[in-house]
Symmetry: C2
Subunit: 215 residues, 2 copies
């Protein structure tokens, strides 16, 4: 895609949050919204929100605010909401199961379309409507199904080895739930979600900082 404006990464991370809230507003029958009102809901500074929006050109009217429908329409295009992205889930343990049932594609453009595991009890079954494959077939399946995104919820000990296979299969992005910081070539993106880390950081902040500033 490689779009026109290079927007800051910090802004990019806020886009899905804007999108989701705008959808909520539309469902609630609201036709317009101000940056202040948005700010209350999504907890970013109103000036930051206007700044973010202005990267995409003027989308609001002074004295009026933003038109919910057209703003939503705009974000919908930016976030490619019209195309469904298939995602592979690798590792069907506790967390994998939960993510599978969590069902991303409700209200979003993503869906887990293939699961991989080593458990022979699970292999070749359908779980939550999704086929489970032998992890030994990972490279072939991912390649054949043209899947570009994977969710990694395997034991830490196997994380790097399986990551290597994912890379080999041509994956472009990994949502990594293992605590291991896996090594990948620079054309592959890793987003780490480290639950123990999140909790420990939270505790650290509570014990060491007075005011409320986690960004």
């Amino acid at each position: 895609m490689m779009n026109d404006p290079i927007i800051p990464k910090a802004t990019a991370k806020r886009l899905p949050i804007y999108y989701r809230y705008l959808k909520f507003l539309l469902d609630a029958g609201k036709t317009r919204v101000s940056s202040t009102e948005l700010s209350d809901a999504v907890k970013f500074d109103a000036a930051t929100i206007r700044r973010d929006f202005s990267y995409f050109g003027a989308l609001g009217k002074r004295g009026y605010g933003y038109d919910v429908a057209s703003l939503l329409d705009f974000f919908s295009k930016i976030l490619n909401q019209d195309t469904l992205t298939n995602v592979a889930l690798v590792g069907l343990g506790n967390l994998g199961q939960a993510l599978l049932n969590f069902n991303f594609h409700k209200n979003s453009n993503m869906r887990v379309s293939a699961v991989f595991d080593i458990d022979s009890e699970l292999i070749n079954t359908i779980q939550a409507g999704v086929p489970v494959y032998d992890i030994a077939d990972l490279v072939n399946q991912i390649h054949d199904q043209r899947i570009e995104i994977a969710i990694l919820t395997v034991p830490q000990a196997n994380a790097q080895e399986i990551t290597d296979k994912l890379v080999q299969a041509g994956i472009k992005g990994i949502l990594n739930f293992t605590p291991l910081r896996v090594t990948v070539p620079s054309n592959v993106r890793v987003q780490n979600v480290d639950l123990t880390n999140e909790l420990q950081t939270l505790i650290y902040f509570i014990e060491n900082y007075a005011d409320n500033e986690i960004k």
Copy 2:
């Protein structure tokens, strides 16, 4: 606690990651480590690592590197690893179950010590070794057990209402897995873990950026 040096938040977020890797190194029998080596493992720039460490005063030796044991000892104190932090889990759905089984206290100083749900089948049972309480008793139990951290995995529709109760019970930090950006007083900290958002951001980055730069 309110410790001496006000370190940047970005640094604070890296501390648990350093800690975990240092523990791994110690277990592996390594006695010393350089910033470059650490950098390979945790994927932060070596200069950033040295900078981080230097906030706490000189911990390494020039020409030698850092002594694993003493560095670990130091981080262990900073992160309060000697005291066990009790955490409440609110909402025992798919994700809640997974987090409960995930068992934070293996290799860490945190443990889920109370679970809350509305399901009468679950209330007053023990799940994964942890008692499940009626969510109606949330305020009392959390207050009585002096729990200061909660993990929130309830349906979005109830998130604010339950957050209010948590605040009322005196909670200090919330790890929020719901997509709602909850409103809390400024003395309460919220750390949002938004899985749909993480995936969407990942997809956006892959489609719109060439190089590998998510921080």
